[in-house]
Amino acid sequence: MNVKILIIEKLKENFSESIEKIEEYRDDLSISINSEKLLQVCNFLKSDPELQFIMCKDITAIDWAKKDYRFEVVYHIYSFKLNYTLRLKTKIKDPDEGIESAYSVWQSANWYERETYDMYGIKFKNHPDLRRMYMPEYFEYYPLRKDFPLLGIPGSLPLPKK
């Protein structure tokens, strides 16, 4: 209990205007943040001596298939000191414009963001090496978006001849 209250208090006293929503479901805390201030919040969470969220476990995105704010990027970060996993979410408007990369805060964000770019098409600014991860380089679509069919588009991936 104290851990969650501590995190919420610390965030509210420094960044109270960028927090959009705080949710709690089955003992998991998830905080939605405005996309412009995200990098500052991450830097604060990593460097604050009481919180120390030094490991980034995962970065992914959700496709809500709405007209406005279609994608939402989700970060899972872990603190050894508090032994707690926190979830941060931001909504982004335009995937081609994208958001700032978290590589400057946690180096493990490198491959996670490449995977999110490959699957959803969200570009990350100032990423050192934004290439596709799983699909071959010449693939033109983004597989995990809701408008891409499960069976794929025939002809998008070539096969060798018999």
Binding site: Y134, M135, P136, P143, F148, P149, L150, L151, G152, I153, S156, L157, P158, L159, P160, K161, K162
Partner: protein, 130 residues
């Protein structure tokens, strides 16, 4: 060619319990230039299919192919955008082994079928390029 889960069962077929070297095929060479038989074990995706074809082309004639597991025979339980639904779309296959993964005894049975097929083949069949 050990690509995914079937490779572990292929390794189990060589271990002391289900010894495959009893049937005369002990040697698993690491280069295709000295092989007669290619066992494709594991799911083949579109990205990997070019690699598999390249290795098949590097093998000298006469050559045979075993498609191990359902993923190579028909795509298996993965009906998705990136899995090839059966390697016979780009490779000529001699024996299909079913199972997910097939038991090592099943793989040894397939090896014996290939041995029977080899006895019946004449060298003339391999003269035209396949």
């Amino acid at each position: 060619m050990g690509i995914s889960c079937c490779a572990i069962e292929m390794m189990s077929a060589v271990d002391p319990k289900y010894d495959m070297s009893r049937f005369g095929s002990e040697v698993m060479r690491f280069t295709p230039r000295q092989c007669d038989l290619m066992i494709v074990a594991g799911t083949v995706t579109y990205k990997m299919s070019h690699v598999v074809r390249k290795i098949y082309d590097q093998m000298p004639d006469p050559k045979w192919v075993i498609a191990m597991g359902v993923c190579t025979s028909t795509g298996g339980m993965y009906r998705t955008y990136s899995v090839v639904q059966g390697i016979d779309q780009f490779l000529p296959v001699d024996v299909y082994v079913s199972g997910c993964p097939p038991r090592p005894e099943n793989l040894i049975n397939a090896l014996l079928e290939i041995q029977k097929k080899v006895e019946k083949t004449k060298a003339r069949d391999f003269q035209d390029a396949r």
